[in-house]
């Protein structure tokens, strides 16, 4: 029995990956929930918007690398991030101008907007594959680890190592900054307040002189920034592949619904709930359990509830449970 090693193994294989993944999910789900709150539809193109923004970051990163620009131990992608966000903002505003604005003016039913977003999804998906191709792209450089497993073992003398990748640490730091800024913006600035007012009651907001087109524009800008951030951090942590980003749509929606659609705080909590359950249910606990229990009880099997191929199933089951027992989500978002 060795509780300390068990704790380190738990931190290494569960805590750290789930924290990073949860931050990425939270950023993505925030985008989904903001679109839902302000524009009032579920944006199926969100995963592909994220892929588009990340693609822009990757291309700018390659440009910088070819110039020999680097950011010391940090990945060059961080320098490219502002440019990627700008490109993504331009793209998103373009789609709004060309596609969504027409339907907004007509006041169509939300489900029509969802179908329209499906069309945008196709176009974006095709564009991304056309420009960068469907393959895996790695663009992380700089130091690979903040703490590598071997250094940790040498420092502490424990059997188990704790490795923290730069990408993971960056993810958490950047996500905290982005979320803090977003909440400050929504709660303290005039534009942010008008966004919340518009989300709560459209007619009242219009009566008090809020310009809806401006609110919508600011929302798209924020969503583009969040999507690019989430995509780049995910890509730094794992790798960039357009199809994977498309598939992230499901955990995003799961996180946003679990937290309560339209509620930013809910999206963050939902992101972590989904991430931790995915990692914990698909992790083989054998190592942790072996350290944590007396020798006689050591397990023979992997002590894995579900194979990792079923991680989508986990977010889906949580989604279903929430839909059945609490359709408005944990933080009482909008629901009809």
């Amino acid at each position: 029995m060795d509780l300390l090693n068990a704790l380190v193994a738990f931190a290494n294989f569960v805590m750290v990956p789930a924290l990073a993944y949860g931050s990425q999910l939270a950023l993505g789900a925030l985008g989904v929930t903001l679109i839902y709150g302000i524009l009032r539809f579920s944006n199926f193109a969100h995963g592909d918007t994220m892929a588009f923004g990340t693609m822009a970051v990757v291309l700018v990163t390659w440009l910088f690398q070819s110039w020999g620009v680097s950011f010391g131990p940090l990945p060059t992608a961080l320098l490219a991030l502002p440019f990627g966000i700008l490109i993504c903002m331009g793209f998103v505003l373009g789609t709004d101008r060309l596609v969504y604005r027409f339907y907004r003016a007509q006041k169509v039913k939300p489900v029509v907007l969802v179908i329209v977003s499906m069309g945008v999804m196709f176009v974006t998906n095709g564009l991304v594959r056309f420009i960068i191709g469907p393959d895996d792209q790695r663009f992380a450089d700089g130091e690979r680890f903040l703490i590598s497993a071997r250094d940790f073992k040498e420092m502490t003398g424990l059997q188990e190592g704790l490795a923290i990748k730069t990408g993971q640490a960056l993810t958490v730091v950047v996500a905290v900054i982005a979320v803090a800024w977003l909440f400050w913006f929504l709660n303290r600035t005039r534009t942010g307040k008008s966004m919340r007012a518009y989300s709560d009651n459209e007619d009242l907001a219009l009566l008090s002189g809020i310009n809806p087109e401006r609110v919508v524009m600011v929302t798209w800008l924020i969503v583009a920034a969040l999507a690019t951030l989430a995509g780049t951090l995910y890509g730094l942590d794992k790798s960039f592949k357009p199809f994977t980003y498309f598939q992230l749509l499901l955990p995003f929606f799961a996180a946003a619904i679990v937290g309560g659609l339209g509620s930013p705080l809910g999206a963050i909590v939902g992101g972590f709930v989904i991430a931790f359950s995915e990692v914990m249910i698909t992790y083989a606990w054998k190592k942790v359990v072996t350290y944590a229990v007396p020798e006689r009880w050591e397990p023979d099997s992997l002590v894995q509830l579900l194979s990792t191929d079923y991680k989508f199933a986990v977010s889906f089951v949580i989604l279903l449970v929430v839909l059945i027992f609490r359709p408005t989500g944990l933080f009482s978002g909008k629901s009809v």
């Binding site: 939300p110 489900v111 179908i115 945008v120 999804m121 998906n125 594959r129 194979s307 191929d309 989604l319």
Partner: protein, 428 residues
Amino acid sequence: MTLRDASLFGLVGLLIVLTGVMQSWNLALQVLNMGLISAIMALGVNLQWGFAGLFNVGVMGFVALGGLAVALVAMPPVAESWRVGGAGIVGSMVVALITILAAVWVWKSRRLSRAWRGWLVALILVVGFIIYRTLFDPARDAVESVNPALQGHLGGLGLPALVAWPIGGVLAAGAAWIIGKTALGLRSDYLAIATLGIAEIILAVMKNEDWLARGVKNVIGVPSPLPTAIELQERASFAERFVDPVTASTLTVKLGYSLLFTVVLVILLVLMQLALRSPWGRMMRAIRDNETAAAAMGKNVTRRHLQIFILGSAICGVAGAMMTTLDGQLVPGTYQPLRFTFLVWVMVIVGGSGNNYGAVLGGFLIWFLWVQVEPVGQWLIGTATAGLPEGAFKSHLVDSAAYMRLFTMGVLMLLVLRFSPRGLIPER
């Protein structure tokens, strides 16, 4: 059908004939066969969206279940696998079923307080899961180790291939019942997300449960209801009649499938036209247009939604089973949401939702475009880059031409939604 509709169908027919004349008749028949299957999928989605306004983005899952049904029904059983693991797998499934039923029964019983019920349900689920895994794991390993290069699964029932088609529909209907029970009655976006999820899960199960249908190792050699091309060539009476028996045999087999699929499509189309014009169809459209009013007239909106959701999914399942029979193999890796869910949606939207002929037309037209945009795109890019010097940029552009079709489909869908939102053949 008006003259305009008929001429639109004539146009698509002409496109397929032109493919035959200009490219090859084999390709033309391939387009026709997949067009027929696509038309059936589009009918299924049209039933849900056009008749009832239900937003199903899990078409891929139901199509894949249809394919699974073919593997489970038409393949011959593997006696050895059944001997070593059959009892364990069947037993574990029974345990799982009993556990779920018991949990639901306890949760619904009114004798205990809410907190007690919660703990009891959790206890039942945990105990049930442990029993299930202890029964299931060794049985699964035993089955998967039976001749893994060729079998390693339980095999099917060895029934005729055509029986698998309706069973594919039944399997898809079962999945639709589960999902409909939970997600219908909530707001429409939730159904969309729930179906998106179930499709991914169905695919995950099909890719990973090797004992069921070999997972990503694929089931090949699925029995065909028609004689295969090779059997035809070996038949002396057939081979003597043609100058080129190889081409003749492949064309004959494809034509045979076209006939079979046309029969299915016509039956479904007639049934759906009858349904659309019946009181039931009018009720469905009334519910779609105003749920509150329909509910006030005493219609059980949720039950009707569940009914039509199951029927539409079953049609998608039948189409999926037909597709696997046509391919002669089940390859879970080829099922992709863009191709099997969202493309079907493009078919329905472009063809005209709410109109069965529109959905069928959309199925043929979009499938034709999906097949032909790629060579056209390659030709366009080839022409456009002909003047460029050889190099990485040019080869990148030429390689990327394949993704033109996603882009084209998206643009087509957005254009139709914007300028002709009711589709090519609008609802009447």
